[in-house]
């Protein structure tokens, strides 16, 4: 990996069934995610996906690129910028910003983001990982 390299992208269709699956898997039953009537009265006009569910796509591209190094040494700092609604497709992308050799390993810093099919940035931030040199 070198500066400027792109990580393999992940595409994901977000639907209400998956949001409800995530609520059960995570234990987060905030009605903004799963209660259609409650959510219709919110500023979003309907349900939205859990931020952590969408952020999982970033972890997926980091795992795909760096394997178990991500689980052992990964670091991520993200902001949730706009909601993802059922029916939208999201794309998680990453690109290498910096590679810092350190002895027998290298620290790789990546810019990461998740965008929706209507062009909104849902998540942006940075992820980094240490890999053997």
């Amino acid at each position: 990996m070198k500066k400027g390299d792109s990580l393999p992208q992940v595409y994901r269709v977000v639907d209400q069934a998956r949001i409800e699956d995530y609520a059960h898997a995570s234990g987060d039953f905030n009605p903004i995610h799963i209660d259609l009537e409650f959510a219709s009265q919110s500023q979003f006009g309907g349900t939205i996906a859990h931020g952590m569910m969408v952020a999982a796509t970033i972890s997926e591209i980091m795992t795909g690129a760096f394997g178990s190094n991500w689980a052992k040494t990964g670091k991520m700092k993200i902001r949730f910028r706009s909601p993802v609604k059922p029916g939208q497709t999201v794309t998680a992308t990453g690109s290498v910003q910096r590679v810092s050799p350190d002895g027998e390993s290298s620290r790789i810093v990546c810019a990461v983001s998740v965008t929706t099919d209507i062009g909104e940035v849902a998540i942006s931030g940075q992820a980094e990982v240490t890999v053997p040199a």
Partner: protein, 142 residues
């Protein structure tokens, strides 16, 4: 049990839970996020838990114990993973309030999360920033 978010003080432990990360829990998580990566395994072939499944567990207790009301938003998240977790491990997830402030119509809670394994070794640390509508308190439990 918290009844008014204004009473929460920085430094206060707000949640602590232990979880057994079994195959079922991991399978449910992977299915929900539709992760298409093959399962990670350590050098002995033991299946590893996806990193974000650990992260999700780290805030599960916070959501439950604070009885986060509808309309709450997740504004930001930081994670640092220190070691991989084998499927079947037990994890201890603790959360401590770092900041409690009101800006405009929102209350901002910044929460440190820390996860350790069966051997008390650090697995993950993180920081969550959540925004709660300022006028709302914890939701009623059934």
């Amino acid at each position: 049990m918290v009844t008014d978010y204004g009473d929460l003080q920085p430094g206060q432990e707000i949640s602590r839970h232990s979880y057994q990360v079994d195959e079922g829990l991991v399978a449910d998580y992977v299915a929900a996020v539709q992760d298409e990566n093959p399962p990670l395994r350590d050098s002995d072939g033991v299946q590893l838990v996806p990193a974000m499944a650990v992260a999700a567990l780290s805030i599960r207790g916070v959501v439950q114990d604070l009885r986060i009301p509808g309309g709450t938003l997740h504004a930001g998240q930081e994670f640092e993973f220190m070691s991989a977790v084998a499927v079947g491990s037990s994890l201890d997830c603790a959360a401590t309030l770092v900041q409690n402030s009101v800006r405009g119509n929102w209350r901002f809670l910044v929460i440190d999360c820390h996860v350790t394994d069966d051997n008390a070794a650090d697995v993950m640390s993180g920081k969550s920033t959540i925004m709660i509508p300022a006028g709302l308190g914890p939701r009623e439990t059934k």
